[in-house]
């Protein structure tokens, strides 16, 4: 046990060292604790700041929107992303409305009812639009409209407006589209084939009766044909009855041509029929 005596100072030194170590460890722990506390505090602060930032962003968005309404289109696109987002939203909404417009019947809820917009088109060409402002308080009534006076709106409304509004709109849309189609055909005929038509094109407001004379050439001679087109079905843009007649002194072969033309008029649009037999001769 001499070692014990001999190393007494060592033991003290060792103890001191251990004490020091302990002290250091304690310090370290304290430091670590402090660090953790600090970290926790900082994390809380970050949360706070994030909340604040979100609030401010929301406020800014609102202000931006108000500013946009006041000023109109954005002046500096690179300035704020919320403005760009808003613009994108507006564009996509406009595209959606355009799609609805293309379906032919569009509507909007008004204070007192609904306002319908019926758009007409014929074979890929868009023609006019007609509006109907309906009241829907107690019973459905037409408040005002832009449908032409020769379309029998009153009759269609009497039949379907109260009972089946979908049918009402569909019938009205069919009639308006058919009228627009008939008028388009007559206009196209006058525009592109005015040299073949003799005199004026006799028509009426609904374009459901067309009478005109046109020239048919056969063996280097021209013969006048008279056409009478009756459109009995107001929802249809092709004629229900076609009468093609020629003068009594015309050669017999022309009666065949007359029959062929009559068939063409019954099957295809007016201007297309003209195009087909003016190209075949």
């Amino acid at each position: 046990m001499e070692e014990g005596k001999v190393y007494a100072s060592d033991v003290f030194a060792h103890l001191e060292m251990l004490e020091m170590r302990d002290h250091e460890a304690a310090l370290k722990e304290e430091e670590e604790l402090l660090q953790e506390e600090k970290l926790a505090r900082l994390k809380a602060r970050v949360k706070e700041l994030r909340l604040q930032r979100d609030e401010l962003r929301a406020k800014l968005d609102l202000q931006e929107k108000r500013q946009l309404e006041k000023e109109g289109p954005a002046s500096d696109p690179a300035q704020f992303s919320p403005r760009a987002v808003l613009q994108w939203k507006i564009k996509s909404l406009q595209a959606m409305l355009q799609v609805f417009y293309l379906t032919g019947i569009g509507a909007k809820l008004t204070r007192r009812g609904v306002c319908f917009c019926i758009s007409t088109a014929y074979e890929g060409t868009y023609l006019g639009s007609y509006y109907l402002d309906l009241l829907t308080k107690s019973e459905v009534k037409i408040y005002r409209h832009s449908v032409p006076a020769f379309i029998p709106l009153k009759q269609i409304a009497e039949q379907y407006l109260q009972t089946d509004i979908r049918r009402f709109l569909s019938v009205l849309s069919d009639q308006l589209n058919a009228y627009a189609g008939r008028r388009y055909q007559a206009d196209q005929l006058q525009e592109h084939f005015s040299d073949q038509i003799k005199g004026t094109l006799q028509r009426n407001s609904l374009y459901n009766l067309l009478v005109f004379n046109y020239n048919v050439s056969s063996k280097s001679k021209t013969f006048p044909f008279n056409v009478r087109l009756l459109y009995g079905d107001l929802c249809c843009s092709l004629p229900t009855e076609v009468i093609v007649s020629c003068r009594l002194d015309a050669p017999a072969s022309l009666t065949e041509t007359a029959a062929a033309h009559s068939d063409l008029f019954r099957r295809m649009p007016l201007h297309k029929a003209f195009r087909s037999f003016s190209s075949t001769g």
Partner: protein, 354 residues
């Protein structure tokens, strides 16, 4: 007959403004191009008309050509005449017929002439069709014992397959029933009655009755979105007082007139047959008879002036529904009796006498 026809043509040419004579003669098409070239359009109207009369005599113009020129003149200057609107109806039986009606202009003309001639032999009837499906009918009236007087004419403008007709009668009002009867028979209707709508501007009447004026319908039509352009700030030195009240009144006006351009009407007339509410002590006026007066609002453009009443602060409240209902009804000649005076209560006591 020839002399009177030539004189009639000459007088019609005299009515036309000098700058328009050439165009109108070209539209007429009775004189050939070479003949037109011989006319010096720089001289006085008197000389031009004499020259035209001479040429017409060479071409032996008849009453048909003369009437055509008259129709063309009235078509270009319809505002010189006063037009009334008539509405035709069918019976329920007729309306239930499922067969589509084909309006044939030739049938219409024959039926009209036949009906009118059966009532009165001495009439001249002429027709002219225009591109917008409008049929112009000119009628010159005579009596059972006298030939038609070409200077006393009535005009009818009719759009096929519509229930409306625009009539302008110049003199012989007693002949109007004959005209209306012929019109009803020719257009396949049963009844005809006058609408309380009259104006010099034929186009405005057409716009109102055919719903052609640009009503501001609320729709999602894409182009409509861009219409709400922001109004630029006016000069900074101008300070608008009572801005809120003004805006409120404008808002009410917009609601009433739908913020669209309305057709031109010249007047709105209200015949009041209401009781005058007075203090019983004012013995003279305290009678049990309706107090009759006629109130007439006239303006070159009635609706525009009504709209601007609020903008110029001449009206402090919104417009009376009696004024704003005009395009909707449509009518511009009103008769207000005791039953309706409840609505127009303010109107009957606070208006000036005409």
């Amino acid at each position: 007959m020839d002399e009177t026809v030539i004189e009639y043509i000459r007088r019609t040419v005299l009515k036309i403004p000098r700058k328009e004579i050439k165009i109108m003669l070209q539209k007429w098409g009775f004189l050939s191009r070479s003949q037109l070239q011989t006319i010096n359009f720089q001289q006085t109207k008197e000389n031009i008309s004499r020259r035209v009369a001479l040429l017409c005599q060479e071409n032996s113009a008849d009453i048909k050509e003369a009437a055509a020129l008259d129709i063309i003149y009235n078509h270009v200057y319809p505002n010189k005449r006063l037009w009334s609107v008539y509405q035709m109806n069918k019976t329920i039986y007729q309306m239930k017929e499922k067969e589509t009606e084909f309006f044939d202009i030739r049938d219409f003309k024959t039926k009209f002439k036949r009906k009118l001639h059966s009532a009165l032999e001495n009439v001249t009837i002429n027709f002219r069709e225009y591109d917008d499906s409008a049929i112009w009918i000119r009628i010159a009236w005579g009596t059972p014992y006298r030939k038609p007087n070409q200077y006393k004419t009535s005009y009818v403008v009719y759009h096929s397959q519509t229930p409306y007709a625009f009539v302008s009668v110049s003199m012989f009002r007693s002949n109007v029933p004959l005209l209306l009867e012929a019109l009803v028979a020719a257009s396949n209707y049963n009844h005809i009655c006058a609408m309380e709508l009259r104006s010099h501007s034929l186009n405005s009447l057409k716009e109102i009755v055919f719903n052609r004026y640009s009503q501001n319908f609320q729709t999602y039509y894409p182009e409509a979105l861009q219409e709400h352009s922001v109004e630029p700030e006016s000069e900074p030195q101008i300070v608008h007082e009572n801005r809120k009240t003004k805006e409120k009144i404008q808002g009410m006006n917009q609601q009433a007139f739908w913020d669209c351009s309305l057709p031109k009407l010249e007047y709105a007339q209200y015949k009041l047959e209401t009781m005058f509410e007075s203090d019983p002590k004012m013995g003279v006026l305290h009678r049990k008879q309706p107090f009759r007066c006629l109130v007439k609002f006239s303006s070159p453009d009635l609706f525009e002036s009504l709209k601007s009443l609020a903008a110029t602060s001449m009206a402090e409240t919104s417009l009376s529904p009696l004024l704003t209902c005009i395009p909707q009804k449509p009518m511009n000649n009103f008769r207000i009796t005791e039953e309706t005076s409840l609505i127009s209560g303010r109107l009957s006591t606070s208006l000036c006498l005409n």
